[in-house]
Symmetry: C2
Subunit: 803 residues, 2 copies
């Protein structure tokens, strides 16, 4: 701790900082308690009190202290600073400060910077139809929702990437500091380049308690905490104060000095980095520990019970104010302790002196373009055609993700604000093409025999799905672009982060001044149908079931059946805003079906009849109802598509006159009706493709019930029979996996024959059943000898083998 730069000399006087802080505290208490008499122009009476007291006081004074002091530094130094508010329910404090900044009134003109505004500000808080008790999309300058905890620091690191002039001040509550995701973020500075990226300044706010318990980090010795912080690669600065009635100015001085020291250190690190430093090891970034009492400046004791500095200060420290005159008096005393008459003039306007503490324009944390500004640069997408797979014929082998990786490399080459995140699965998911143009960014030691690591690069990999998702979110929320790739089964790790991001997008869409951000796109590979040596614990396609629950405007699911389709799905996704796109595509060599132009059309349609794979003489693409199939074989997903096409071929060999329609679904929401999802087909279009009354055997990548869930309103629903993953898995070959789950080509063919009227006793059924048994025995025998499946179909026969 140093005394340098304490704002009493030269800079903004601490008296102004203190007044701002008192004003913010007053406005916070007012939001929780007051329905009327907002400026205390008359004695407080029961009817001025909100009928129901909701909200969170405990963390608020600390958040406001930080806010006021950051403003001071920004004014004095002109450093662009983003405030990430981690503590769950610091909403009222953030709203109070952004109102004092003036931004709140600019963005919400019905809440002006005067007494009327204060009255409305108070009323809306935690009130029916109002604003929640945590920082949210409605809060100016926020990129982090304080609802579900754990994501503040990863958001901060994502925001700092490629913003070399930015300081991200990230306040972490000591409750949040117990979560897994937050703990996975401490060391994320290892992925920051001190020259080309911004700085993150963690501010651990130790106020000692969470909802009803003490916090772990507040109860260990300062020595241990110091070691913990240094052990995470930071240089700690402790600011402790406010206990035992300590004079507030003593704390202001320490806080000003601590923050100034931190900014000095950041500046020194940036300078050293500019001059070529940190080639061998990364810097020790500053880290502030702010220890103040929970509910500081609130009532110390109520009814003889200690409140300040205990968990009782977490939410509403003083209850029953309307009914209990003694409590009402305590509240009035508490409010007046901030000296509101000095803080607001007769019209309720803050004093002119506050201008000295208000950064100008975009330097205001509440109006910083990084948080409120939308997409910085539109993405430039290189043409897909040059990266497409040139197929000699349908059924030729290719690796979808490898093909996509090449194109992704070109995108990353052309767009310096596009980053790829993955939990150590970029190479294993065969996206090696990106390393044609970039490297993995890595700030720790690089030693001989290391590969593809560099101090600067656009790929970030750490073995934490949480951290990768959170950094990508932070990157997108600050106006850039990116992609996350992961194992399909383990993406469930971030189910809840997905939910929260979807909810953020939904809420933000109602906030007029929030501009759209780039969509969050997942590429899930290493999927359920290819887990030869991993087995059951790696087999789970259920993320899609979580995704479809969110509001339809914001979510998309794609199951491209081959490489060129994957390319066009991604081309579509990368052009979108404010969505979450989930793409599932295998990394293993698989039959390829569509030429590049066909793939583009297929993706645009989202679902299509593949007449070249079906057997429908006289089929007319312009009028699918002109022919009348006996049965429809539908598929969604790469492996189910192969099995479906093979099943059609099997049946056709046995029953050449059976009219078989093959349908492929790439855009899963096409199955829902147009009233439920913007991509949904009309019932008419659905019926044209799937028919109203023919049996449909649907081979699905995921859990079969998902297809029923999406199609339950369709006319043909009762004729729909779905096969998919039914949680039968083990360490085995791909064919055996299909077999265990009744999704193999033989089973599909039998399903078809069992469902077409009149075929009940057709010998074809017996024939296929025999082939099924033989294939199974052969495959097991072959696998036992060779450790893998035999090649099943070597010659595909199509009516239209070329494009």
């Amino acid at each position: 701790m140093t005394d340098e730069n304490a704002g009493t000399e030269g800079g903004v006087p601490l008296e102004t900082v203190d007044a701002w802080w008192r004003a913010a505290n007053y406005l916070t208490v007012g939001q929780i308690y007051l329905l009327d008499n907002p400026l205390l122009t008359e004695p407080l009476r029961p009817e001025h009190i909100k009928p129901r007291l909701l909200g969170h006081w405990g963390t608020s004074p600390g958040l406001s202290l930080i806010y006021a002091h950051l403003n001071k530094l920004i004014v004095e130094r002109g450093v662009s600073t983003l405030y990430v508010c981690g503590p769950g329910h610091g909403g009222p404090a953030m709203v109070a400060n952004t109102w004092l900044d003036g931004t709140y009134s600019e963005l919400f003109p019905d809440i002006p910077l005067d007494g009327d505004g204060i009255a409305r500000l108070f009323k809306q808080f935690s009130f029916p139809g109002g604003i929640p008790s945590h920082a949210a999309p409605e809060t100016p300058g926020s990129i982090n929702e304080g609802g579900e905890l754990g994501y503040s620091l990863m958001h901060a690191y994502g925001a700092a990437l490629d913003n070399p002039e930015l300081v991200v001040a990230c306040v972490i509550g000591d409750g949040e500091a117990e979560t897994g995701p937050l703990n996975a973020s401490w060391r994320a500075h290892a992925f920051l380049n001190p020259k080309t990226d911004g700085a993150v300044l963690p501010i651990l706010h130790l106020n000692g308690f969470k909802i009803a318990n003490p916090t772990l980090l507040a109860r260990i010795s300062e020595k241990e905490l110091r070691r913990f912080i240094r052990g995470n690669g930071y240089d700690p600065i402790f600011v402790t104060g406010g206990f035992d009635g300590e004079d507030h100015f003593a704390v202001h001085e320490r806080m000003a000095a601590g923050l100034a020291e931190a900014y000095d250190k950041i500046a020194a690190i940036k300078l050293e980095a500019e001059q070529g430093g940190f080639q061998d090891e990364g810097p020790s970034w500053p880290f502030i520990v702010l220890r103040t009492p929970k509910g500081w400046t609130g009532p110390a004791k109520v009814d003889g019970k200690q409140i300040e500095g205990t968990f009782h200060a977490h939410q509403v420290p003083l209850a029953g104010v309307k009914e209990n005159p003694e409590h009402l008096a305590i509240l009035e005393e508490w409010l007046r302790s901030y000296r509101p008459d000095e803080l607001f003039d007769d019209e309720g306007r803050p004093p002119a002196g506050f201008d000295a503490l208000r950064p100008v324009g975009a330097l205001r944390m509440s109006d910083i373009p990084f948080a409120n500004g939308g997409i910085e640069h539109a993405l430039e997408l290189p043409p897909v055609a040059e990266s497409a797979l040139d197929l000699p014929e349908r059924g030729a082998t290719g690796e979808a993700t490898r093909v996509f990786g090449k194109w992704l490399g070109r995108i990353m080459g052309a767009n310096p604000d596009f980053r790829l995140f993955g939990p150590d699965e970029v190479l294993s998911n065969r996206l090696d093409g990106v390393f044609d143009v970039t490297r993995r960014q890595w700030g720790e030691a690089i030693v001989p025999n290391d590969e593809l690591l560099a101090r600067e690069g656009k790929v970030i990999e750490a073995l934490s799905e949480h951290l990768m998702q959170g950094m990508l979110e932070g990157y997108l929320l600050t106006g850039r672009h990116g992609l996350i790739t992961s194992y399909e089964a383990f993406i469930h790790i971030v189910d809840s982060m997905f939910n929260q991001h979807a909810k953020w997008l939904e809420s933000a869409s109602h906030v007029e001044w929030r501009k759209p951000i780039s969509s969050l796109t997942y590429l899930l590979s290493s999927h359920v149908w290819r887990q030869d040596h991993n087995g059951f614990s790696h087999q789970d396609p259920g993320f899609l079931n979580v995704v479809v629950l969110k509001q339809s405007e914001f979510v998309r699911v794609y199951l491209p059946p081959d490489a060129n389709t994957l390319l066009h799905v991604m081309r579509h996704n990368f052009g979108t805003e404010d969505r979450i796109n989930v793409v599932v595509a295998g990394k293993q060599p698989q039959p390829q079906w569509l030429g590049e132009e066909e793939a583009e059309r297929h993706v645009r349609a989202g679902v299509g009849i593949w007449d070249w794979a079906g057997y429908e003489p006289g089929f007319d693409p312009s009028d699918p109802t002109a022919t009348d199939p006996d049965v429809v074989l539908a598929a969604a997903g790469d492996v189910p598509t192969t099995e479906t096409i093979a099943a059609a071929q099997l049946i056709h060999e046995k029953l050449p006159t059976l009219r078989i329609r093959v349908v492929n679904v790439v855009d899963l929401f096409r199955l829902q009706d147009a009233g439920e999802h913007p991509h949904g087909l009309s019932h008419e279009d659905f019926d044209r493709i799937f028919t109203r009354d023919r049996p449909i055997v649907f081979a699905f990548h995921g859990y079969p019930t998902l297809i029923h869930q999406l199609t339950y309103r369709r006319h043909g629903h009762d004729n729909l029979h779905v096969r998919g993953f039914k949680e039968k898995g083990t360490t085995t070959t791909p064919f055996d996996m299909l077999h265990l789950n009744d999704l193999d080509r033989y089973r599909i063919a039998l399903d078809v024959l069992h469902r077409v009227p009149g075929l009940e006793s057709n010998p074809a059924i017996l024939g296929i059943a025999e082939e099924w048994a033989k294939a199974r025995a052969d495959a097991r025998g072959y696998a036992y000898e060779h450790g893998e499946d035999p090649p099943f179909i070597t010659e595909w026969t199509f009516s239209r083998p070329a494009f």
Copy 2:
């Protein structure tokens, strides 16, 4: 580091440890490569090699080193030790060591402790129908699946609770150490009582690399790592070796000394605790850092490329062995470097000298009852009746979770091996009854004004759903009982842990020698319909959608509509084994419906017609088909039940002759058909309750599509109209939430009237629509004034108000 107790004097000679280690390494390499010639009795030829090389070598030598040295300590000291294997793919090493222990052959008699056994052991590994490449339920002594990473240390801490004599040696891979859940676990020692609980010895295995990247912890300085470990409250012991061809015995000596030091420290801590120590602060437990090269003892270089000590050693360090004679020669040299002729006799049996390193019976880590032994003590459940809510009449108000909490306290009083875990939500979920008998266990400082904390107690609370779930899993997997309570929305945080536990149960059910364990039960409260000041980010009932995807034998979902039903649901759950029970119940005051005996019957039935709430003159419970309702109103969930009953009352007032059946579903899987879930109703029973052809309006707690998903095979499905949460949420009153999602009583009543043929133009519709509009306006006005909803129904009118 000390030299004390190095096993060369007095204890097991290090030569034996080294021989064991070589044998384990040989058996590991053999599992990955050999299909034949397992003892290298003849020169290695291509046909001896597996056709497909799968598996993970990199972490295995380290795991085996630890295993061998732990065996030495166990033999020497008789300390009961559980080995938790965190590194993802250490499967072949764990299998090798448990085979050397003799346990593998005892548990799998077809794999004897001889050459035949070795041949089979080799073949099954990562082979179709064989065993996976990670520690799994099939692995003797394992309580941790090494598939999805992050859970080893929390499992270890859960296992140590209430097992004062146990040491849990938990090996953490440096890849796993990057995950959020693992990082949330470092400080879990704060919840251990050194006297009444066991010890956890973390062994951080730094081998430097994950799949294709270096690891973070391996690339920071030893100084920083030491600070990190001390900063997490541990006392680090570094064991580094194996680099630059270092003599193995030097490493053995350091490892023996390091482990001995750790066990000495644990013993000293336990002794001090016995003597009343650690009242003010907890001990610094020892922590081992084992730094060895990835793929140690494997091929150093292949084709001029460095393999040992790089990420290339992660899986199969030597490819193309069948085809490439040079590689074949390297493999043979590698295998022979372990001197197999010294390790296996002519029949392939390990040497008699290994007996000195084999703990006896239950002291074998591979046969330890904590891991393989099932439930230690059956749960004693106090009678529900004494804790039940005594209802004066139907519709009286009560708090379900508060009532349950009292009974839970009695359970915890009667069963010292029952623990409650929660992310700081035990009090806020109103389970305060447990504090009648116990406290929160807390090992850090306890200060004045703290409440309900103690050095010893059966409640554990940390703000990490991951840690709470993981510790409960560890507790259950070692034969005890428990419950986790959490916010409904945020339980998605552990979706993936739920999945992995369900998969563990499924896999374990196929392993003959695994005994059943106590079920994992969730109590989800603070649910979607009551989030007055939290809002949209706290509203998500989608965990149920994840749960229903798992195999039906292992999952149950209950939605008790009131307190007494909740009691009986829990009574049922606590008596079960090998299941995951999910219970959703509100904590707020709500109307109560069933007397205790009625509740018992209702839970047993799982679904029932509530004739007292319906209007079906002449209804005969023994034959529901005797009367013929015009419409069925069904509900699942506490809030939907209230709305449904109110809707029935509303309609009845308007249309007294309409025959309304009210159905309540408490056991959600009753909706599925008996062929799909063991709790499923037969179609006949379903039709008796829901009818085949009458309109059904179903008010559901969660997302409506889930009901469609469960019932799509039912006869009445096309007549089923479901209301539920449709992702419309904000900070508002309970009634407004229902209104936004079309789940309020008026909307339900209108749904009914719109669906009953002949009522299309009945004035009752207009009447209810008007009441709806008025209720909405009234409620908004009232809420604006009072901050909450008006009381809607003050007098319930039932045909049978008492019980």
